[in-house]
Symmetry: C2
Subunit: 354 residues, 2 copies
DNA sequence: CGTTGGCACTCCATTCTACTGAGTGCTGAC
DNA sequence: GTCAGCACTCAGTAGAATGGAGTGCCAACG
């Protein structure tokens, strides 16, 4: 029954990277074809594929074997084959290769980064749009974390009688703010004093390194302001304030599925920033660059695949970009786009902090 | 043929706020029913509606008249009637009333604003989520413009040899930044000097009131920095930097339509911030609070309706909230929700600047 | 032994038909 | 002006027939 020579009987054995060269070619053909057409592909079509020069009967036998091993599935008897998640996985890992961006896309990327200007948030937002355009997927960009960036400026601005704003500038150009409720009226002079002490206490450090040590200025009223200031700084450094997410091209999800229910559930997920960020981080932490179907734990995205790519700023991974598409997305293209854009973005961010 | 006593013959005459009391009741019933069921409604169903106590035959005659006058339409012969845009318009203007939020929603709003905290952007973002939840529509929130807010702080922070960041704090708590490329290396002292002069030039004014008058400090190098600083300030005051848009609940659009194409085109529009902001502003400028179907000029949204509501901070209209749904959205509910949330949001924003 | 052409079989998709039933428009009577 | 009655229309559903793409199996071939 089993025709291949790398012996393994029926059932889905562990076969780590087995598969006959011809079976690989056939799987490759099926995946490629299906990505393009979204239609089950039959043995006839596979015959035309390069690297496969056997009759359709032989292909059928191999496809049956591939189905037994879990790489392919049949929507119903006497239909063509569709890749399973495992099939896509093999395709991504052993076939398909890295793929290259088409010249048009390459040009688009170049142009984008040549003309990219303005503040970081704007750029990340636009980057998500670019990625979405390039890949016909939904793009997710998680802004670089500011954990390691050191404080360049700390300022307290009075906004009302008992209200002030703590404004912090980090070395990477990020500006964060935190409103502060004061126990009693504080005049500008005292605010400025407090800000000076806060600065002395924190400048040059990262937000996460601010300790709660009290600074004594000699004046108890000022001390009180400094104290809430320190609290505010530590709050900014905590996880709550971090991780901006930019999602672009969510409309592509409506083009990817024809079941409107699927679209809705996917969009619902995309609206939950925390879920998305966690998902991307999880995948990355597991050392993957692609998560297919149920490989990530988010059930409503079972018919989706995620491509993730770290963004390194000055050699340190701080940001993430992700692509979300149907499991039958164009993996080589998505990987190539994510890689190129990720690199350029990292470069760009590194430059801008010199 | 025409049964009503307020004489007007066939054809879609101007009839500004005509319509027989019974015809109104029938139209009301059709719209209400259709909003709930999304199914064409027939004369039988209208019979059950309150305020209509005539036989189905009479209702049929009236519905035929309503169709002739353009308030109703038939998907095909011998189907029930569906409201046209004109029908919805009449419903919104003369029927349906303001509507009230259900107690659950009211509770939700109260709870939200009681617990709302954190920075303004976060709050606006969450407000869009709240509105979307309340109405099953997609919610759009345009942040209050900072045109009128006066400058409370101007600061220049050096980030690199020839790179600085202009950080501006406005009286309403908004923080804006703009990176500045310097022609030559500038040390911290000179930056501080320049910032001081900038502050003297601009503090207490609104961003839009910054004029290009050069400030002479006596030192040409400092003057150069001040000059780019002024440019940057004016840039921040220009339209480009304004109008943050927060969109929440776009997944509801996938539930509203069963044609996946419609969903895609609507989502595509929602991704274009400028289009959305312009749309909302347009509708508001025309003095409308509801724009139905083609009343706003955006063709891909022809099957959608928009509800807009201004947000007043200290009595001045500065922000906008909008709801986007299918033309058969629940107008009374949407209007009520928009009104309540708009008011509370305005109050909240007014408070926070005291 | 792997490969191949042939063949019977399966079953989705399409088409056609018939039928149902919700809904209409009309008409004549009250 | 309203209403009951009636003939008519037509989307939607269900069932039967058809076509065709695709499969699995097998016997034969090099």
């Amino acid at each position: 029954m089993q025709t291949s020579d790398n012996s393994r009987h029926e059932g889905a054995g562990p076969d780590p990277l087995a598969l006959d060269v011809r079976k690989s070619a056939i799987l490759n053909a099926v995946v490629t074809e299906y990505i393009g057409s979204a239609q089950p592909v039959g043995s006839q079509h596979v015959m035309d594929a390069p690297g496969v020069s056997v009759s359709s009967a032989t292909i059928r036998a191999d496809m049956a074997a591939l189905e037994r091993d879990g790489y392919l599935a049949q929507p119903h008897t006497s239909a063509g084959r569709i890749p399973t998640d495992k099939g896509y996985r093999f395709f991504v890992d052993h076939l398909g290769g890295p793929g290259a961006l088409d010249p048009v896309g390459r040009q688009q990327v170049r142009q984008f980064f040549d003309h990219a200007h303005g503040e970081i948030e704007m750029m990340l937002e636009k980057t998500s749009g670019l990625l979405a355009d390039l890949t016909d997927c939904t793009a997710m960009v998680v802004g670089p974390s500011h954990e390691l960036a050191t404080l360049r400026s700390v300022q307290l601005v009075g906004l009302g009688p008992r209200l002030a704003l703590l404004v912090v500038v980090l070395a990477d150009g990020a500006v964060q703010k935190q409103s502060i409720d004061l126990a009693e009226d504080v005049d500008e002079g005292r605010l400025a004093d407090a800000a000076r002490y806060l600065a002395a206490h924190s400048l040059g450090r990262a937000l996460s390194q601010i300790d709660a040590t009290l600074v004594t200025t000699g004046d108890p009223a000022t001390d009180a302001v400094v104290s809430v200031g320190v609290d505010a700084l530590r709050h900014l450094g905590s996880a709550e304030a971090g991780d901006q997410l930019f999602v672009g091209g969510s409309s592509h999800m409506a083009a990817a599925f024809d079941a409107v229910d699927t679209v809705r559930s996917v969009l619902t997920i995309l609206e939950q920033q925390l879920v998305v960020v966690t998902l991307l981080r999880d995948v990355l932490d597991r050392g993957l660059s692609v998560a297919i179907g149920t490989e990530h734990g988010v059930e409503p995205l079972a018919s989706c695949a995620v491509v993730v790519m770290p963004v390194s700023v000055d050699g340190v991974v701080t940001g993430t970009i992700g692509l979300l598409g149907p499991t039958r997305m164009n993996y080589p293209q998505a990987l190539a786009a994510a890689q190129v854009v990720g690199n350029r973005l990292g470069q760009r961010l590194s430059e801008s902090r010199r």
